[in-house]
Symmetry: C2
Subunit: 587 residues, 2 copies
């Protein structure tokens, strides 16, 4: 746990999240089930808005395809991808109480050995460390059994047969890879192209903790970007070359150093720190995404993963981390260069051909020699040796035979002389128009629940002992509150009309008539509503309302007729609250 | 299968869906896995838009809460809800080849006994029918084993312990019920209120067929609406009282009749056909939803379920059905009156209190008499009989003792006379301020994949031998195509600029420069893009473009400056394409 002067926002948020309906641990009436959360009404809206951000950046603006497939996946898929072999965690069980624990976490907590170092250990090394240091069960202080590997995928059966194993997917990437041929057709057989999937995924954690940060069921956004490794340049890299990324290199991390350096994209390219331009481009997009949900760049960093930390499919991997008050730096996205690993695995296992054809700019013309034995002559002459002789002849490069025939007049197979009478020399032109290859893949992968958590933590501000969730306006779960000043004299009816009208304009509106106007503002601030409209007696006379800003606690009076355009521009970030006054004057 | 003069749109759509990227069977490279589909780029957009429709109607306009919880659910939840006992299908296995089949479907297919009648049968009756009619394995014609019940939930283990059974949820409703107390607080402890959950659900079908119609993993939208059964009126029913619903009653269906009657909401209420006003209100919403995604009311009907067709939790249930060319009438939503069944089950099993407190308008004052034995007198007088005597006394209603004391001067317990010396009579006022009760629930439940399928089928029109997907504009997967007339002279660059600009306006835009303009229009029609903008040489001179309508194949010339407002109004359904000309003239 990181020590810090800041208040532990985790505690404030957990209480607020339950009370206001952002999220809470599921199934509490049955004693709970670790690693599952329920997003309440406000949380679900926030989560949808964050997912919309992903869609807006990647699908709508960059033209990445979005697909949706199933969570339950036939066993073969994860056998072929290597997950059944690799998706495991070391586990120890108590000899006495039979409680089970993650061995690496236990060693880290008991001995203070860093997780980086524990991750390097083999099962035998873990066992040795546990024995040597006499680590006991943290529940009952008895001895532990030898560590085993626990498969952290949920296993089930598909259909009524006992052989049809299925797994809950631990990531959304494989269901993109297995559909590569169809998706490539939809890209009109052109590289590069990308495919994103945002959906639930499952990891059967041994002992999940940390609330939203480590869940058994979570929402992942996996983006697989396919490109030709020989044409690996990103055509948009120049547009972002001056963007700065805070990078913490593997060589520093290995020494236990935390010195993050701020580098421009151009510098990172020149120093060859990230091995794929596309990977780097998506890291910039990830930085922008986090800024757009409220996390400043000073609270982000990209750490290069160490060899033993990387997933089995990754050549190079950077994690995007965000600083949070409870746990320090936590991963919010991973950026892996997966090469052709996955497509290759599935090609091998399924027999499908995932190679794409690439036309050469200029076809290559190759001359090809073939030596064709004349059986009508060889047969009678060599009799029962003929078959073997021909077999040998066909294995020898044609060029070698032709050269020998030209130089010596014969070619020797064992003790047999082959002359130009025995064979026909055929010369052909072979035109190579292109090549077949397996595309390479870079993958940005986002943990949506973690995006949600950091958005919440960075929105939280405490002012005059009140909680305010200052979400960026584009992700606020509710856009506008509409309140009658008091609940009588037709103010209520007028307010409802205004709320209904704004809803038809596509805005997310909350109508609230309960309690004093001050309490309603406070409630709205805690729900993160950027603007509140209050309907008062003047509204009935001149059709104007007040709009109050969540962060400034300022108000401005606006004619109802100006509302649609004003609010539309505000949420498209074309106008700020402080300019509302000028906007109205200009009308 | 229903015989019909219409072409089997299922076949056309399946081909089109694969080719254009709406959906296809998943995992084909591994031989497929029945009951799983992948939504491709266009399909995912369409599916999102249909889900947005649900959100718009229920969440944004009616203020229903939306939540999101996990698919993997602790065993206890589905044990308590009755699913582990009831969520089963009859299955038979071949003695020879060991293939397994749904017994009810087999009987229906082999003997033509209607599914309505087969559903009534017990396992013993099914066995008898199979034996009597010598039904054999449809694969190898050998005898079948006796039928068994197959649990159609996916089973797994949560965490590393063997006892912690988890199920893949077969519906999204239970994870709403178990969180009732939190949700009720979010509704500020007021009834009625509703909660919707849209998400994946799992049913381990024995042998899934029918493509999108019967999937093992699908998207469900379950809306649970909680109300006080004593105040069961729907406050919006008058707004919809003239809406017409086509109803097919259970009594007709039982006789094998198909005579649907068109009734207004008012008539349905007067005839007491639907037992809950709220249920009826949601049926009207469901009708409107289907119309909004392109299914006319003539192709919809609501059938009342027969007693043996209803789920174990439902008192009354109507299915909303839509007519499709391949299978005839298929269910797209179910409307069940679940009473307090589910909340009650979970209360009993968990010990949580799901009763809500309802204040009476006027508190009821009740006088209460208590008889308190005077031990100081009874003890010495009755000695070792005293304890038993007092025990008996306390069980007798105080009124009875007081009456006897007043009339006779004593009260007889066995042979012992109790006088007013032995007891103290206490009179208290008891004020009853309210009552506690379990809310009742009506549930509209939508199958989103079926909504998707019927939207696709009703969008399909064939004109001049070309497929056009005439989606309603509000669900079209892509809103606007932007095409340079030809791919040179700066038309391309200008088009890209326009496309980028429209994207910042929040529109879903496809830029396409490949092939002749005619081919691009054809491709756009088949993808269901309502409007295509073409950039030509005139655009470079006067900043105007042509807009072409997908369904009318008409074009109109529009200044670029008018585009944002025009398109915004068009997709909000404020203006039609045919009025674009007048709109421009008015500017």
């Amino acid at each position: 746990m990181i020590k810090s002067e800041e208040p532990d926002k985790f505690l404030v948020l957990n209480e607020l999240a339950r009370r206001r309906g952002f999220f809470w641990p599921s199934f509490e009436i049955y004693g709970g089930a670790g690693g599952f959360v329920t997003y309440g009404p406000l949380g679900k809206k926030l989560k949808l808005n964050i997912e919309s951000k992903l869609r807006d950046i990647f699908v709508n603006r960059l033209g990445i395809f979005e697909i949706e497939s199933s969570i339950i996946t036939p066993g073969k898929v994860f056998e072929s991808s290597g997950h059944v072999n690799h998706f495991k965690e070391p586990m120890v069980e108590c000899l006495n109480c039979n409680k089970r624990f993650r061995a690496d976490h236990l060693i880290n907590e008991k001995l203070g050995i860093s997780l980086i170092d524990v991750e390097k250990m083999s099962l035998a090394e873990i066992e040795e460390v546990i024995k040597k240091n006499e680590i006991e069960c943290p529940e009952c202080n008895h001895n532990l059994k030898e560590p085993t590997q626990f498969l952290t995928m949920f296993k089930t059966l598909i259909g009524p047969y006992s052989g049809a194993t299925g797994y809950g997917r631990p990531e959304a990437a494989q269901s993109i890879f297995v559909e590569f041929n169809r998706l490539y057709k939809m890209a009109r057989e052109k590289l590069p192209f990308g495919v994103i999937q945002i959906g639930h995924a499952l990891r059967n954690e041994i002992s999940p903790r940390q609330g939203l940060i480590r869940l058994r069921e979570f929402t992942i956004a996996d983006l697989e970007f396919f490109f030709d490794p020989e044409v690996a340049e990103c055509n948009m890299i120049n547009e972002v070359e001056n963007e700065i990324l805070p990078i913490l290199l593997a060589e520093k991390r290995e020494k236990g150093l935390e010195d993050t350096i701020n580098l421009t994209v151009r510098e990172i390219l020149d120093k060859k720190i990230v091995c794929s331009e596309w990977q780097l481009f998506f890291m910039v997009m990830a930085k922008k995404l986090l800024i757009s949900i409220g996390v400043p760049i000073e609270k982000q960093r990209f750490i290069e993963k160490l060899p033993w930390e990387k997933a089995h499919y990754a050549t190079q991997c950077f994690d995007q981390e965000v600083y949070v008050t409870r746990w320090g730096w936590i991963e919010v996205s991973g950026h892996a260069y997966r090469t052709d690993f996955d497509l290759n695995c599935h090609m091998q296992a399924s027999g499908a051909d995932f190679r794409v054809f690439k036309e050469l700019e200029k076809p290559i013309v190759k001359k090809q020699l073939t030596v064709k034995p004349k059986m009508a002559i060889i047969g009678p002459e060599f009799k029962d040796k003929a078959a073997e002789l021909v077999g040998t002849l066909l294995k020898i490069p044609a060029e070698e035979i032709v050269e020998s025939l030209e130089k010596k007049g014969y070619y020797l197979v064992g003790d047999k002389k082959i002359s130009s009478n025995h064979v026909e020399i055929i010369q052909q032109k072979n035109i190579i128009r292109g090549k077949r290859f397996i595309p390479h893949v870079v993958e940005p992968s986002f943990g949506c629940d973690r995006l949600f958590y950091v958005a919440l933590e960075y929105a939280l501000t405490i002012k005059d002992e009140r909680n305010i969730l200052s979400f960026p306006k584009t992700i606020a779960p509710i856009q506008i509150g509409v309140f009658p000043l008091i609940n009588k004299d037709g103010l209520n009816k007028k307010s409802k009309k205004i709320a209904a009208f704004l809803r038809t304009e596509g805005l997310l509106v909350e109508f609230d008539e309960a309690g004093s106007i001050g309490r309603r503002y406070a409630r709205a601030d805690e729900s993160g509503i950027p603007l509140c409209i209050t309907v008062d007696y003047a509204t009935l006379e001149d059709d104007t309302v007040t709009i109050r800003d969540r962060d400034l606690w300022d108000q401005v009076r606006v004619p109802l007729g100006n509302l649609p355009l004003l609010l539309s521009d505000y949420f498209k970030e074309k106008i700020k609250f402080k300019d509302f006054g000028d906007f109205i004057k200009s009308k």
